[in-house]
């Protein structure tokens, strides 16, 4: 693979040798997640979330395939097939359904941490631009899949969520309304929409799995990044993925699944909306139409555009909402700083945490009832979101003086360990001196 010292695959068993000569699948796996993939030795726990995302994709596909065996995609039967057949009569159906419902939330939680890790440590920068962009493709596919999956139980929030989201199309000038009718197969969400959403909800996870393979493939060409952002120089900087990172990912995955199990078994409906336990009714609009928590920041951006300025407010909202994700594709070229890691970028670091707070505020606004003051907060937060990526980040990368980088990964690891082994007072003096030197 990427580094000259990566160990080539040496089959130990004659059967494996026989297979390897004809179809080098074991070789590919060994090079991807085995001893043949050298990984920087200094990864911290924020690097565990990529593997976790893969685990949750697997959980979603497995539980989803079994759920689909019992689900009926019909506007008259969908609600009962979920809430009566699956939840009451299918063996462990309640477990499958709660695991799938909460699995979606955990998949997004893990992916959000994975993305913010990438934002902080500059994982989107050369030579990993394509890794970042393929990740964004996965994220967009995830949002589409999650939205269509939420429609399937055909509860109140399913129906009205579908109504709101498909309304985005009608904001497009001229072709908007016919396009919406074409997408829905009717003038409102109905049987035609439900059946096609079910079909696509089954298809897209496999498309995601395909893009995940490309994502990992493009990662393995330059190799994984690391918290210092310094390039790998020689063999001392890396450890083979197996057994070191399989062991580290293994225990952390078990710990995270523990967290997932606690929510799934003890608070299964905590993250859901009670209204979705009411069957869909096209004559009764719910008091508040809200998407699932993981889409709330974008919902807040959509609703922040309340003024008709040249274009109608609705079109502004839809364009801004899509732009808020699409602009991330340009991030590798918006942020020109040669230093990857936020740990060595004092100004960037402050704005990064401001962005984290900003996205949380947007999420809160997205989930709150529409009141003038909450909308005002959302407008400020939405403006910051765009300014952060499109104005502040390019300016920082131009004017910021980064801290001195360690000359190699190994040096940064050794420095860290030396500091740990010093008595606390000496270590504190050392840190102070280092900070003073940096400033």
């Amino acid at each position: 693979m990427s580094f000259s010292w990566a160990k080539p695959y040496e089959p130990k068993h004659p059967v494996m040798r026989w297979l390897d000569e004809r179809l080098p699948l074991p070789r590919v796996i060994y090079g991807a997640i085995g001893g043949g993939y050298p990984v920087p030795r200094n990864l911290n726990y924020w690097w565990n979330f990529g593997v976790l995302a893969g685990i949750f994709l697997t959980i979603q596909i497995l539980t989803g395939i079994v759920l689909a065996m019992h689900y009926t995609a019909s506007t008259t039967d969908a609600f009962n097939s979920v809430n009566q057949l699956i939840m009451r009569d299918v063996n462990a159906g309640w477990l499958l359904r709660y695991a799938h419902m909460n699995g979606a939330s955990f998949f997004f939680l893990v992916v959000y941490i994975h993305m913010f890790r990438g934002l902080y440590y500059g994982s989107y920068k050369a030579p990993r631009e394509l890794v970042w962009m393929l990740g964004l493709v996965i994220y967009l596919l995830m949002m589409a899949t999650a939205f269509m999956g939420y429609v399937l139980p055909w509860g109140q929030m399913s129906y009205w969520g579908a109504q709101v989201i498909t309304n985005f199309f009608s904001a497009i000038p001229v072709v908007g309304d016919p396009l919406r009718v074409w997408v829905l197969g009717g003038y409102a969400p109905d049987q035609a929409a439900l059946t096609r959403f079910f079909s696509l909800h089954y298809l897209l996870p496999f498309v995601i799995a395909g893009v995940v393979i490309l994502h990992i493939w493009s990662l393995h060409i330059p190799g994984s990044g690391n918290p210092t952002g310094v390039d790998v120089k020689d063999e001392r900087d890396t450890l083979p993925f197996h057994p070191f990172y399989t062991a580290k990912d293994g225990w952390f995955a078990a710990a995270f699944l523990l967290f997932y199990a606690i929510v799934t078994y003890f608070l299964p409906n905590y993250l859901g909306n009670p209204d979705n336990y009411i069957p869909a009714n096209n004559l009764a609009t719910p008091a508040e139409i809200v998407p699932e928590w993981y889409l709330l920041p974008f919902y807040a951006i959509l609703r922040s555009f309340t003024a008709d300025f040249i274009l109608p407010a609705k079109l502004w909202g839809v364009v801004a909402m899509f732009s808020s994700i699409l602009l991330l594709f340009f991030l590798p070229w918006l942020d020109k700083s040669a230093v990857r890691s936020g740990a060595y970028r004092p100004v960037f670091k402050r704005f990064f945490w401001l962005l984290v707070v900003d996205v949380i505020v947007l999420g809160w606004v997205g989930g709150s009832p529409v009141k003038p003051l909450t909308v005002a907060v959302g407008q400020v937060a939405a403006a910051y979101y765009f300014l952060h990526f499109l104005v502040i980040l390019p300016l920082i990368s131009r004017f910021e003086t980064p801290l001195p980088l360690p000359s190699s990964i190994t040096e940064s690891v050794l420095d860290h360990r030396e500091a740990e082994s010093l008595p606390p007072s000496a270590a504190r003096r050392r840190t102070k001196a280092a900070t003073a030197a940096a400033e």
Partner: protein, 307 residues
């Protein structure tokens, strides 16, 4: 180029948001939204304890049976329980014979077909039937209830914020409209055919108070049927109808958590074992590497151990 375009796009979005922000605040200060009676007088559900609450929550079958009695004697006059079959009542402690009797004695017949003529007919419900609804369709339900539709109760404790606490609060929350409310909001007088209940979202509920007097239901197990007790029992029963899996889920959850906890601890020690040599600063090699064997020999010699 990307950055120039981005810069402009960013400023345009921020500018449009600024216009929206100013317009939003201007309209807020020029015509502040009028307060609503529901904003000030709506109350959160009462804080009562149910055995099903919390991560170790369980059901009390005697209470569930009392709740089922309240449902069948009071609530089922207007409310359906469409997702629950008679056979499911096994889950709250009835045996097969009792379930058969409950089904065949049910006051509403199950729809059927006359085997001779093929015309629509009715028959006594069987344990495999879902509980027949009191009204054949929505139009009939509305016609009998001043155009209000009594909701199906199967999932009601999952479909309302507060679950059983909400159901209990609604059942025990009927009262006269407070004078303070009418004084502040003279237009908010409860309309005829509606009933004031501060636990209902808009304060005025179409349902008349269903539980009005102590002893409305005669409990077989000797529990005193106060309004409070009946409300508690039926709310507890409706937790079961919405989540018949609750007890099994909690038990399985505990087992899974213990299993994963042990797994996590073992996997953590395995990780520590594997990473030990990295943290010790030793090159990543096995114990049989000449370098490491030499180290072992030196250490043994130093400690005076033979071999």
């Amino acid at each position: 180029m990307v950055r120039v375009v981005g810069f402009i796009v960013g400023l345009v979005f921020a500018g449009v948001l600024l216009i929206a922000f100013i317009g939003n605040l201007a309209s807020y200060f020029s015509s502040p939204p009028a307060p609503l009676a529901a904003d000030e007088f709506h109350l959160p559900p009462k804080d009562v304890h149910f055995t099903s609450d919390g991560p170790f929550g369980k059901f009390d079958n005697r209470q569930l049976q009392r709740g089922f009695q309240v449902f069948s004697e009071v609530c089922s006059a207007c409310h359906s329980l469409k997702l629950v079959s008679f056979r499911d009542l096994k889950g709250i402690g009835y045996d097969d014979a009792e379930i058969k009797k409950i089904a065949s004695d049910w006051k509403v017949q199950a729809p059927s077909i006359n085997p001779d003529t093929g015309e629509p007919a009715t028959r006594k419900p069987l344990p495999s039937d879902t509980i027949p609804p009191p009204f054949p369709n929505e139009v009939a339900a509305r016609a009998a209830n001043n155009n209000a539709l009594p909701p199906d109760l199967s999932l009601i404790t999952k479909a309302r914020v507060g679950g059983p606490h909400y159901v209990y609060s609604i059942l025990t929350g009927f009262q006269n409209q407070p004078a303070a409310l009418l004084k502040k909001f003279p237009d908010a007088k409860t309309p005829p055919n509606l009933h004031y209940n501060p636990y209902f979202a808009n304060l005025n509920i179409a349902m008349p108070p269903p539980l009005t007097t102590d002893g409305q239901v005669e409990y077989k197990d000797g529990t005193k049927p106060t309004v409070d007790q009946m409300a508690r029992d039926v709310a507890a029963f409706l937790v079961w109808t919405a989540q018949p899996d609750l007890e099994r889920r909690h038990a399985a959850g505990l087992a899974v958590v213990i299993f994963l906890l042990i797994g996590t601890i073992l996997a953590y020690f395995a990780k520590q074992q594997i990473w030990h040599e990295v943290h010790g600063g030793v090159r990543i090699t096995g114990p049989l590497e000449p370098e490491n064997q030499a180290k072992t020999r030196r250490a043994k010699a130093k400690a005076g151990v033979a071999g």
